[in-house]
Symmetry: C2
DNA sequence: GGAACAACTCGATGTACGTCTAGCACTATG
DNA sequence: CATAGTGCTAGACGTACATCGAGTTGTTCC
């Protein structure tokens, strides 16, 4: 399936029929899979949990770097993945960059996977 | 994070604090990530949607092979991933093997990610 | 037992990706 | 302006994995 490179915009909230509703076409399946892939890494799951914990204050790269024992480049990479998938928002504040969870986007994603949930 | 190889049993329904509840430890983050990884592939998302469509009848390797235009080896690989992650059940019926969605496992997984859902 | 069908396993191959170091860009404060 | 703090980008390296063809196992039916 990954014949062509996935240079796709994922930043918008996902909108496609639920997986349980029957066969998905290639585009929808790819949209779901790429967003899931953004979350399907231990470091990123941990990061998400830390961003959740920070709440509306948001969290900075350097904080995660200490809490996860990863280099700043690696944390930046993961934050970029999550942001590009639309799961985190990003806001510059002075020399800091604050990341926060986009709960709507996360909610939309899980609803596609399991609509009985909501 | 993937310092050690993930030879972990995923077949049981996931049970860990929700990601939104605060920092996850390494084991929980890995448990979540590995299950998500099982789903984070376009072919597997498509497969899941087809298995959903088949309902309680279940679906066979050879059917998916035709519907997805993949080799039987590749389909078998993907079904194995989903089964090992506990998202599909597997039952031999004569010379066929029927796969069905384990909705409870899927539900538990999305609840860990977004508990507000249920 | 033998033929056909279904699914799985094995090995090979190419691509994707997590991680790091090093370097660069931007902002705030002396 | 200089310095420090913060985050990003670029390139490199090793591992993981999606895919396939070929071979193997298990089942049914003649």
């Amino acid at each position: 399936m990954p014949k062509s490179l996935p240079l796709i915009d994922l930043s918008s909230v996902i909108c496609c029929p639920p997986v349980a509703a029957g066969p998905l076409d290639d585009a929808d399946a790819l949209a779901v899979a790429l967003r899931l892939k953004a979350l399907a890494d231990p470091a990123r799951v941990k990061i998400l949990s830390h961003v959740f914990a920070a709440g509306s204050d948001g969290v900075r790269n350097v904080e995660l770097m200490e809490q996860l024992d990863l280099s700043d480049a690696t944390v930046s990479h993961h934050l970029g993945q999550l942001h590009r998938a639309g799961l985190l928002t990003r806001e510059r504040q002075g020399r800091n960059v604050m990341y926060r969870v986009d709960r709507e986007a996360l909610n939309a994603l899980v609803r596609v996977i399991e609509p009985d949930c909501c």
